[in-house]
Amino acid sequence: MRISSFYLALVLGVQSILLLQARERPLSFVSDPSSSLPRETRNSLESFLTTRSNRLQTEVFVLLEPLPAPSLEEAKPIFEEFGNSWSEDNWAIISFRPGQIGAPLIITGGPFLREIVLETWQNELTTLQELSLQSWQTSPDIDFLARQVADSLAFVSRFKSATVQSLVQDRNEEILKKHHSDKTQKAYLIAISTALLLALAALAFLLRKAYLARKKLHFPETKWNSRLGAPHSGGSALIHRFPPPQA
């Protein structure tokens, strides 16, 4: 918590310094006086940022120059001062300190940065910095970091005008609701069918029982022939035994 607060303060503090320096538009999208980037990478990044500017009207400048680290006393929130720059348009300056692994990334920019939730933005920058350190290069991948931050800035500068989110979210919710309702419906259907079957079986059993209880069984009258001296009369179906003769 302390570390993140420190970084936050550091970023805000340096922003105030940069704001003082950024009264004029930088001449180039990539300023690299110490030639930290290979020429090919530098040209590619310059072209990328120029296209961004032309297409999205979001100007992102990359400054690769060591800056003096601000003291904690100098670090203070100054977001309300963002408007005091050369332009009210969407612009930002990303400043790196090449050669220092883990050095803070410093950003300043136009009024649109005021709209950003600071904590979310800081988390995003920290993640991107960490990822740039995990590259296959021996030093932080500045080209990767600059492009990612420029993309994020282009996105957040237009985020307010986004319309798709609600549509897609509604769609997702609708699909999820339907999925859950389908599942519930299926469960209800199975439960109702089982209950109906059980009820039918019980009804059938009870009906049969009642029917059997009411049913009168009629047996044919039995007749046998008197056979004097014989122990019984009858055949295979009926046997009538005579009492033994009395003495």
Partner: protein
């Protein structure tokens, strides 16, 4: 008896004709979408080149060029056509890597939203994704954003970064750039894809980080159509 049998046959024949007409009308209605955004063609083959650069899971820093393993794959995406499943219309796409079936995807097009609705293996049996993952929207613009319920998919959602010209082997094509960052324990995936209306995804770049080091960069680029490369280049 004979007359009634003939009448019955005639009645059945008239019924089947009516059903055909109804099917045609229904198909015509379903096809009536804006084909300037989503326009699949039955049997169409899109060719891609996939490059995978990776280091082993045991690799630590520093990483020398010899430690990076590079593989190139010819990837073909075939549109197998629409299919009705559970009362809904899906579009089936098969992916072949170096001529072998790799995976299949089910897309669902609502008329304004394109979703990856599921997948299928070689047995063609569909497995539906819950919820489906949106990949493009007819009204998307820079700053558009969508996400999924957190308990379903982890990540920062999909962000539309811009509509820009992209250089791929098939030529320079205007496409929407969409970025997604997914994080799970120890693993971060940074996915960027470019969606060109009427064609589909023309480029995809994935950075996969694990254990504090970049493990793989996976790049897929559109090379052209199998039937007519010139058409793809001109578009």
């Amino acid at each position: 008896m004979k007359t009634s049998l003939i009448l019955l046959l005639l009645f059945l024949a008239s019924c089947s004709e009516k059903t055909d007409n109804e099917t045609e009308n229904q198909a015509a209605q379903e096809q009536a979408w804006d084909s300037s955004f989503f326009a699949p063609k039955l049997g169409e083959k899109l060719l891609y080149r996939e490059t995978i650069e990776s280091v082993s899971m045991q690799q630590t820093k520093p990483v020398s060029p010899e430690n990076i393993n590079k593989v190139e794959i010819d990837r073909v995406q075939v549109y197998n056509g629409p299919e009705m499943l559970e009362g809904k219309k899906f579009h089936r796409y098969s992916i072949y890597n170096d001529g072998k079936f790799q995976e299949g995807f089910l897309f669902h097009w609502t008329g304004e939203l394109l979703l990856v609705a599921g997948s299928f293996a070689e047995d063609q049996k569909p497995v539906f994704a819950q919820p489906p993952i949106p990949i493009a929207h007819i009204e998307m613009t820079t700053g558009s954003y969508w996400h999924w319920p957190e308990y379903e998919v982890f990540g920062n959602g999909s962000r539309v970064i811009g509509f820009e010209p992209v250089k791929v082997p098939a030529g320079t094509i205007d496409a929407y750039k969409v970025s997604i960052k997914k994080t799970s324990i120890g693993k971060v995936t940074l996915r960027e894809y470019w969606f060109a209306p009427k064609i589909g995804i023309i480029k995809e770049k994935n950075h996969i980080y694990y254990g504090g080091i970049l493990r793989a960069i996976n790049t897929i680029e559109f090379v052209g159509r199998a039937d007519s490369d010139d058409e793809a280049k001109s578009s």
